[in-house]
Every structure is written in C-alpha cells, then in structure tokens.
C-alpha cells in the first residue's frame, strides 16, 4: 500500500515534473520531446490505474474518511485555514482514470503538431496537472487553484496552436471560464465566511447537510450559493445558454486539445456540480432541480438541432457534445421529493449514476469522434462536410472505427453511449413526464445528424474535396488510438456494471445524504431559526 499522500501527489504533479524536465530539452529535438511527453502521460496513466487498483468500492464507509479513500490533509496556508487535501471516491475515481487515459491518447495524437513542440508538450503536461488536481482536490481553495491553473495552458494551447480564428476562440474560452470561476469564487467566499472559515469540502458538505450544530447554511443562502456555483459549472459543462464558447474553441483547437476539451474538461462542470454544488447546498439543489432538468433537456434538443445545421465537421461534433452533456444535467436533476420518497430516491440514484456514466461514455466517444475528425483534417486540411465522400473506400479500417465511435455517440446498444443516455431518460419519467418525453425525442435527432454525417463523409463513390491525393489509410499510431477508444466504448457498452460497480456505493451514499440534508433544511425552514446560530449572509 503506497501512502496516499505520495500516490495522489504523484498523480497530480508528475506531469508538472515532466514539464519541468521537458524544459531542458533542445527545442529542435521534437521527436525526443514527443516521446518524452508520451512517456510522462503514460506514467501518469499507470499511476491513475494504481489509484483504481487501490480503491475498494465495497469498503465499509466507517473505514474511509467520510466516504473518501486515500484521503489526507496537511496545512498549506494555516492562517486562512487552507489545506492541501485530497482523496478519491466513486465519483472522482472514474474521472481521474479517464483523464489519465485521454491525456495519454491525446498525447499520442499530438504527432501532428509541428509548431513549437517543446512549448506544446510543456503546456500539455501542465494542463494535465490542472485537470487531475481538480478531480482529486478536497479543499475548495485547492480546487479553485487547480481550476484556474488549467485555464492558462488551455488558453495558450488554443491561442498558439489553433486554427485561423484561434485568438478569438482562446479569448472567448478564457473569458467564459473565468466568468464561471469568478462566480465560483464568490460562492466559495460566501461559504468560507459562513462556515467558521473552512474550505474543506467535507466540512462544508456536513454543514450544508445540517450535520454540524454550530453552523447552518440557511435555505436562502443555499439557493444563492447553489445558483452561483451552478452557473459557474454549467458554463464548463456547457449547458445552454452558456455553450457558445465550445464550438469556437473546438473548431480552432488542434485535434489533441479538442480530445482533452471534450473528453475531460467538460466533465469538470458535471463533477463540480456533484462534488460541490449538490452536497453543500442540498436545499438549493432541490429548489433548482426542475431548472436543472429543464436546462438539460433543452440542451439535448437544442444541441442536436444545431448539430443538424452544421457544415463544419468539428463544429457538428462540438454541438453533439452540448447535446450529450445535456443528459448529464438531466440525470443529476431528477430528484423528486414525494411521499413515497423511498422509491423516488432510487430513481434519482439511477439518474446520478447514469449521469456519471454518461460523462465517462462521452469522454470516450467524443474524444474518439474528435480524433476521427482530426485524422481526416490532417490529410485534407478542411472540415467542410459537403466536400467529403468516399472515405469508406479509401480508408476502410479507419472508417470502421470511426463508424463505431460515431454510433457510440448515437447511443447504439452495446456501445457506451447507449447506457448513459437511456438510463438517464429512464430515470426521468418519475420526475416529470413531459421533460422525459422531450428528452427521449432526442434519440431521433441524434440518429438524424450522426447518420447524415456518416453518409456525407464516409459513403458515396468519390471524394469531392481538395487534396484527394493525401488520403492514405490510417497509420498504426492512429489505429492504436482508435482501437483503444473503440475497445473502451464496447467494454463499457457491454459490461456497464464494471463502471457502476466502482461508483454505486458512493452514489448511493451521496443521494441519501443529500436527500437527508434537504429534509433538515426543510425542517429548519418550517421551524424558526435556532438562537445564536449565524444565518446571515455576510459575517
């Protein structure tokens, strides 16, 4: 058993260390730098797998720290009560492993980057540290630091290695995320000053759920904090109407960065909602649940319609992400309070599990789809859907993999996308019939735009665009990336329980705790506020 301090710190900071080493490379030694970076991401992936291996989902909750395993805490800025605190549970673990995997594959896809390879690899590795830190941090301040740390490398990766409108896209991305970050900062300070100056997510959740007598987050306070946090995370997710940064960022970002963006970054929004917004503000979450579900459903339909209208291949995939992440919101929000709450809470548990599953599934399928677009773009240097065709004949094996990955996005049974989409929709009926029906209608639109895309790009007798001579079958590096994603898409599609097994105990605890937290807040709302307890907004 490796000490958790060492293991989790290594997971987060190994890429930073690698970035530091990379700085000493001769800039012209591009191939060496690439292999070195690849080795770093591979090593990080192995470390995340060790975390997976050390994690025991069936461990009795009493033997864990409030459900977190490998938990540790050490003072960082004692004056402000900021701690260096990390740990994993069933919600963060799959995302940590996903980050390790997608980073590795994205680095493998980075061979097409020709410009300033050294700078690229350094920034890439710093980005990975930020992402892993976000998923592992259990101190709000630390979480916020990692959240912002990840922003800067991403800005440069889009702004320097991007397409023609890269500056616009990078600034748009930066400003949007920063705006979200500011909202989160306000909420963080609100929580900090109302909790006896604590940034500890576990303590904050305990207070929010009414388990600590000294401090109370009043219902109005919870609603305000939840809305601030939710908007902050919804921008990242992205949910309508905060999504317009995504298509631009994706279109301009280089292929591997698109993979990271779709595969990991979007999940931070969903993760933040589950890790921070829901447990700390149960009353606020329940208060806003209908809005969350409605926003999710609207994003599903809106994203699918917008995807139908695209002529840029990458933009289409980007909008499909908006649509697919809508299922995440939908699943999280189906929290119905009713008389026979015993039953309803299980449907909500199913919704949350399915939302988590959808995040992982989307991480695999959308990263795959972006990679598949990138493989074509590397050859013909355009993405106009109307100027493709006949790729199936020219690149048969690549087309096979691409078709399966697109079908995973379409939600075909046996592939990962199906479980996430259908389980969220199944859990939604008990919450609201109308919204569930609209969400189910998404299956038609999704089939429409994906099949139409496949037809326009891969089918037909001949290629209609420029650089026809450059279309050569996929090389072994590209096939490797494709097959790994394909294998995971099939694995999780056929045996979804592999993933549910890791997440189930945590999510079951999560829904019951948050549910109980809501009940307590409700009691408090009905009774007069107890004497001597701080319930004001500002200290």
């Amino acid at each position: 058993m490796v000490s958790p301090e060492l293991l989790l710190t290594a997971v987060v900071f190994l890429p930073t260390l690698w970035a530091l080493f990379t700085a000493f490379f001769e800039p012209k030694a591009t191939e060496a730098i690439r292999y070195f970076g690849l080795f770093g991401t591979a090593l990080t992936f192995v470390l995340t797998l060790i975390v997976l291996w050390q994690f025991n989902p069936e461990l009795d909750v009493k033997e864990t720290h409030a459900g977190y395993q490998m938990w540790f805490q050490m003072p960082w800025v004692p004056d402000w009560n900021v701690n260096y605190s990390m740990g994993v549970d069933g919600i963060s673990l799959p995302l940590v492993v996903l980050t390790g995997l997608i980073s590795f594959l994205a680095m493998l896809a980075s061979w097409s980057i020709e410009k300033h390879v050294k700078g690229y690899v350094i920034l890439f590795l710093l980005l990975e540290t930020g992402m892993l830190g976000v998923f592992l941090a259990l101190d709000f301040f630390l979480f916020y630091i990692f959240w912002e740390v990840m922003l800067l490398p991403m800005y440069f990766l889009i702004g320097i290695w991007g397409g023609p409108r890269r500056e616009y896209a990078a600034i748009k991305f930066f400003l949007y995320t920063l705006a979200g970050g500011v909202l989160m900062l306000i909420a963080m300070l609100m929580l900090y000053f109302n909790s006896g100056r604590s940034f500890d997510l576990i303590t904050l959740a305990e207070i929010g759920q009414g388990n600590i007598a000294e401090y109370v987050f009043s219902p109005t306070f919870q609603i305000a904090a939840f809305i601030l946090l939710f908007i902050g995370f919804a921008i990242k997710l992205p949910a309508f109407p905060f999504h317009t940064w995504l298509p631009d960022a994706h279109v301009e970002a280089p292929t591997p960065i698109s993979m990271i963006l779709a595969g990991v970054l979007l999940k931070m929004g969903g993760y933040g909602i589950l890790r921070i917004a829901f447990p700390i503000c149960p009353y606020g979450a329940q208060y806003c649940a209908y809005g969350i579900v409605a926003l999710g459903v609207f994003s599903i339909i809106y994203g699918a319609f917008a995807a139908l209208a695209q002529t840029d291949f990458k933009r289409l995939v980007a909008y499909s992400s908006v649509s697919h992440m809508g299922y995440v919101l939908l699943g999280m929000g189906v929290w119905k309070i009713s008389e026979n709450a015993d039953d309803a809470v299980y449907y909500w548990q199913m919704g949350v599990s399915a939302a988590m599953f959808q995040m992982i599934a989307h991480g695999i399928s959308s990263a795959g789809m972006f990679f598949m677009v990138g493989v074509l773009y590397d050859r013909v240097h355009h993405r106009d859907l109307n100027k493709f065709g006949g790729i199936a004949g020219l690149m048969p094996q690549y087309t096979g993999i691409a078709a399966v990955l697109f079908f995973a996005g379409l939600g075909l049974p046996g592939l990962c996308g199906f479980i996430g989409e259908v389980f969220t929709v199944l859990s939604a009926w008990q919450y609201d019939h109308m919204l569930a029906i609209i969400a189910a209608g998404g299956v038609i639109l999704t089939a429409g735009y994906i099949l139409w895309t496949i037809q326009r790009v891969y089918f037909g007798p001949s290629y209609k665009g420029p650089h026809a001579e450059a279309i050569v079958p996929a090389n072994s590096r590209e096939l490797l990336v494709g097959y790994v994603l394909l294998a995971f898409a099939i694995l999780f599609g056929v045996c979804p329980n592999l993933l549910f097994y890791e997440m189930n105990p945590t999510i079951e605890r999560f829904v019951h705790q948050v549910d109980a937290g809501y009940d307590k807040a409700l009691e408090q709302l009905q009774a007069a506020p107890p004497e001597g307890v701080e319930t004001t907004w500002i200290p």
Binding site: Y302, L308, S353, V443, F459
Partner: protein, 836 residues
Amino acid sequence: MGSTGETLRNLLTLAWLLPLIGFLVEIYALCWTHRLSKAPAYLAVGCIAAGFVCSFTALMTWGVQTDWVVFQSTHHDEHHEGDHHGEQHHADEHDAETAHVAEPAKTDEHHKHAEKAVASAPADALAATHADHAAEHGDGHSEEHAAKPTVFAGTFYNLGSFGPLKISLDWYIDSLTLVMFTMVTFIATCIHIFAMGYMQDELTEDYVDHEVHLANHEHFHRPGRFYRFFSFLSLFCFSMLGLVLAGNIFQVFIFWELVGVCSYLLIGFYVERKSASTAANKAFIMNRVGDFGFLIGLMIIWTSLGTFQFFDSVDAEGHTSQVGLFHLIRGTTGEMQLSADGQQVLLQNEVGELLTAGENLRSIPYWLLVTAGLGIFAGCIGKSAQFPLQTWLPDAMEGPTPVSALVHSATMVAAGVYLAGRFYPVFTPEVLLVIAYIGCITLFLAATIAVVATDIKKVLAYSTISQLGYMMLGIGVGGWGAGLFHLVTHAFFKSLLFLCSGSVIAGCHHEQDMRKMGGLWKKMPITAATMLVGVIAIAGLAIPGSQAVLGETFAFSGFHSKDAIVATALAYTKLNAVHGLLFLAPLVTAGITAFYMFRLWFMTFAGAPQDEHVYDHAHENPAVMTGPLLVLSLLAATCAIGGESGPLYKLLALSEAVPAGASTAPSSPVTIVLPTHGQVHAVHATAGKFALLAAGLGTLVAYLLYCRKALNPAEIGRQFSGVYGFLVDKWRFDELYDFLFVKPAHSVGRWCQGFDKVVLDGVLHGASSLVMLVSTWDRWFDERMIDGLVNLVGQVTGQAGRSLRVVQTGHLRQYVMWIAVGVVVLFAALFTALPK
C-alpha cells in the same frame, strides 16, 4: 426440470453467440485470408448451421420434456366448448398433474397454480412451469390454452443495479422462443447458402458497380466485399437471436436497435450508391421514430412497475425476489385485476395475490398501462413497417436480395410482430384495438401499392408490409396464436419468394423490372416452380372440398394461417359490430394479395418475353442457389400442415399466456370483447370460405389480365390515372413526411444555429463592445480628465510659482516689512478666531 432449463439455455446461448464469433472473425477476413476466398462465407454458414442444429436440438429436448404434447390429440374439432369458465376448472383439475414436475416447490402451498420456481443459483434462477396437458386429459370442457405455458428463464449478468432496481441481461425460453430460434436459424442457413451464389460477383478484386454514376460518366470500380457481406449477415443473426432470447423488455430494446443497425449496414451495403445510403438512413431513422415510442413505454414500465423482466426472479432461498411483468399485470390466471372504479390495474404477485405497498394496494393507472402498451407498440410499428412508418421498407430493397429475404421479410421486420406477441399480456384491449386498426390500414394500403409496383422486389416488399399487417391484425383481434402462426408461415414462404426473386434477378443480370421479363419459366424452371409454390402459399389458395376427402383442407401454409386470422377477425366483428372493417379489409385484401402475387408470377414467368435482350441472356442459377429454393418451397408448402390442429400451431399455442376472451374495463370509453377460441372456431368454416373465394377471385382476375390478356392493364392504368399515379407514388407518404418533418427539422436546426450566432454570440459581442466602449471612454477620462486635472494642478502650481517670482526681489527691507505685516495679520486672526 432445472437441468432441462440449463440444457436449453446452453444450446440457445451457443446458437446465439456463434454468429457473433463468426462476425468477429469474418470482419477481419483480409487479415487471415485473401479477398477472393470463400472461407468467410463457409464460416458464416457453419456458424448459423451449427446454430440451427443447436436450436433444433433444443426444440427436441423441449418436445421430450413436454411429452410431445403437440403431436397428441390433433382433434381440435371435437372440442365444442366455448365458455371460458372452463379454463378455471381446468387449471384446478391439473394441480396434481403439475405438482410432480417441480419437486422443490411441492411443499409451498402458494405454488398450487402451476408456477414453480426452481432456484439453482441466484443469478441463474429457473422459473419453470408445467405444460398444458389438456390433450392427455381432454375432457368435455377443456379449453386448449388454459394452462400456464412452460417457461424456463434466468439471468445472464447484471447491467446495473440501483438499490432495488435492477437491469440485467436475461434469457426466457418458451415454445415461442424455440420456434423462432429454429425458424430464424433454418431460414438464415438457407439464405446464407443462397447468398454464396448470389454474391459470387463480389469475389473479385475489381467490382464494377453500374448503379453508381460518376461525374466523368465512367463506371465505378472497387474491390469486392464478399467477406464483409457475410460478416454483416452473421452480426445480424446474432442480433436477431438475441432479441428472441431476451428475458426482459429492455434487453429486447437493446437487440431491437442492434438488428436495426445491422439492417442499416446491409441496406447500405453498396455504400457508394447514394440511393442505398439514403435508404439505410431512412430505415434507421424511421425505426428510431418508433423507438421513441418504445422508449416512452419503457420509461412507464420502469417507473410504474420497477422491473423489465418477463419472469419472476428467484433468490438463493427460492423466494421470489422480484415479480415479473407478466405476473404483475396478469397474475396466474391471465386476468387483470382492476380497482373498484376501474381506473387502476392492481398488481399481483407470482401466486396471484394482490401486492401491497404499506397499507395501499400497489397499482398502475389504467391509462398509463394503455400508454405504455401503445408506446411499446410504436416500436413494433417502426420495426414491422406498419402504417404510418411503412415507407422505409420498400426503400430497403436497395440492399442485396438475400438481405431482403432474411432481414426485410423473414426475420427482422417480423420482430415487431414477435414483440407484440411476446408483450401481449401487458396489452389492454384498447391497445389491441389500436394494433388491429394499424394492421388493418397497413394491410390494405400496402396491398394497393403492390398492385401497381413493377419492380419485382418492390412488389414483394409491399406484400411483406401487407402480410405483417395481417399478423398485427390477428394479434389485435385477440388471435394471438393466429398472428404468430402467420409470422412463422410467412417467414417461410416470403423468404422463398424473395430468394426466387433474387434468382430471377441474378438470372436476368440484375434486371428487376417485371415489364422487361415474361416467359422466363422456360429459362428457369426450378425458380418458376418454387416461386409458384410461394405464390400459392401467400395467396392462400386451397382445394375446396378436399376436407371431405383428406380430413382436412389441402392447402399450403399461407392458407391455414391467414384463415386463422380472418376467422378471428370475423369472430371479433361479430362480438363488436362497430369494428366490421376489421373483417372486411383483410377479406378484400386477401383477394388483392392473390391478384398482385399472381400478377407478379404471370408477368415474370408466363406469356411472351417482353425484352429480347433480357430473355436471351437469362439462365437458371447453379445448385447453390436453387437448392435452398427447393428446401424452402417444401417447408412453405408443408410447415402449417394440419392448420390449427397441426403441430406448429399447437406448439406456438403452448406459450399463449393470456386466455382469449378478455374485455375492456367498465370505465373504458370503448367497449371491446375479444373472442374466445370457441367463438373463433364457430365461424372458422364461414371465414375460410369467404377468404378462399376472395383469393380465387383475385387469382382469376390476375389470370385474365396478365396471362390471357383479356384486358390491357396499361389501358386500365391510363383510365384511372389519378388513382394509378397516387398508388405509384406510394400514397405520397414520402412527400408528406418530407414536408412535415424533414424540412422543418432542418429549419429548426438552422434557427438554433442562427440563434447561437446572432443572439447568444450577439449578446456576447455586444457585451464585449460595451466593455470596449467603456474602456475607451475610460481612457479618454483618464487622459483628459484625471491626467488633465493633474496637469492642471501642475500648471497652476507652475503659474503660481512664476507669478510669485515677482515678489522675490532680494530687498531685505521689503522682506522685513512682509514679516511685520504677516505677524500683525496672524495675531489679528488669532484673536478673532480663537474661542473665547
């Protein structure tokens, strides 16, 4: 008993998974063999043939288990019963009979009514019930389908569980499953073998596709894709068998979608043809429209009933841990229990007791159950190409003909009917009425289009839609057995017909237009003869009066099954007179069917050759293609032997879970009474005569028009050009849907896109412009006002300094004077300002 269940499960699982293994090996054929190799085809045939052997063995095992009840007491006619109260008596009488079957449950008083649970392992629970021994113990008032069907079921593995909610992959084996398995694997084997001949021209490095039009008017060349065709066929077989084996409705949905995607791959096999890929998309999306309804049905069932499983799951101790859907809704007697006001369906457990939740009875609102049924049936509409989602099936003929035979006539499209039959216990009479009307509209509509179609495959496609409509109608009017009976017989004669058409197409070098054929029976005698068998079977012709001689009517399979449906429809309309159309439409359509099928045969094989070029090059196909035709024609002729007293029907009827004769809830806005078997039987002879008359008339008209040329069909078409054009345009559904759905969807998509660009980004850009404006102003303010102020202060100070310079004279006297003045002023100020 448990071991039988395990044997059946192992056999069918093997039959199910073999094609999947075949698919995986075949799709990488180029890695282990070369493009011209037939090995992938041999492998595919081997897998599916082995699957057939397994399925058939399973069927035999089943037969032994049930003491070959299907071959005993074929004297259906002697039971002149009719009151379905008899069922209750019957079930009671056979308690003793059923108890010896399932030993472990013997002591359990609750399991009296035949439901026996045998637990071998938690994950592999076997719920087994004993078969109908009505035949052995036939007595005065026994009704044929009264006792519970024998079912073996269990779980493969868990997909996900959330508290008490569990979704898993299950298996469910009853006689329907076995018949479907055997039928699917057998037909698939025949078609695989046929396809080895039909797809021969793909065995090349340079395949020229004449259907593809390149910009430079050259022919399109590509490598052959023989192996890929067979790998897709194998994948399809895997999906279809998985669908049949599925033990819960969610699993049905999984494989439902998978057969959909296989169909997509096979329709779009010639991916270079725009028409093929468009047809593939259309098929998939139309099916998804149905699946949208399916999903809503699933949501309702999942939320209201908390389970998807058909059967009761049993835990390690042998207790029922979760009651299956069928028992929840129907209990053990097959009757729904309604609440006093008729608004709720009360849920029952495995022994027919009402379930409680706390102090209340567990129930599902009646309207919700109706909605769920309609939702699930919407899926069936899509898959079985029923009105209004029928338009994809004719387009699906873009696929190679063996695909049309296997996927789009015999198996996949039949999955919708299969599901309607499988899910029958959950359907309320209102849902059945909808099913009946959908089937009724479809069968008539498709038959009218088939009359004017000239593409040989299109005629068959429309006839498939029409026949599927018959099956739906049969199920809808309460003829569960009749509908599924027709499903099986249709699978045989329609696969035969399609393969015959494939043989014709291959023999005529990919000519599909019947107007260019004629007289081909001389060139292809085997094809012509076998196709005639199929045509007679589908037309439902029989030899009148043969019953007196042979003891039963001499006819091919289609007659028996269609007869059963028409008879049920007649009995139904007698009980529910307002729905008379449900009998008239199938009767009239029986005539139309006979007409267009004989029209097809006459146009193709009889008369004089219409196109010398086609005729001269036509040839009979090799044995690899004609062999399957002969085998299938034999089965098409004989599979339904004995009609409703024959083994096939009785085998199917063993799985009939719900007694016929149900009626709607008193609170329901419509009143429907479903006919009992006795009532159906009473009108059987009458209905049979009508149907035969209609078929005979249709045949006669076809003979006069297309063989004797008594009238010129083209002339008739011109005279009724309005109707003719309307039919040729397929009732203009495609245009309607394009106008109603496709174009609006694209418009909404563009609006969303525009909204993003104009409104959302507009707001963003507006905000950023505003910020720029503010900052510009800020800069101006900074530079002009703040800096100006500072500069002003500086300037003023400078000015002041400069102006004060004049007083700095250097004269000492002047300075002293200033000091003195200053002191005086200070003192004055001090004394005036200081507080007293």
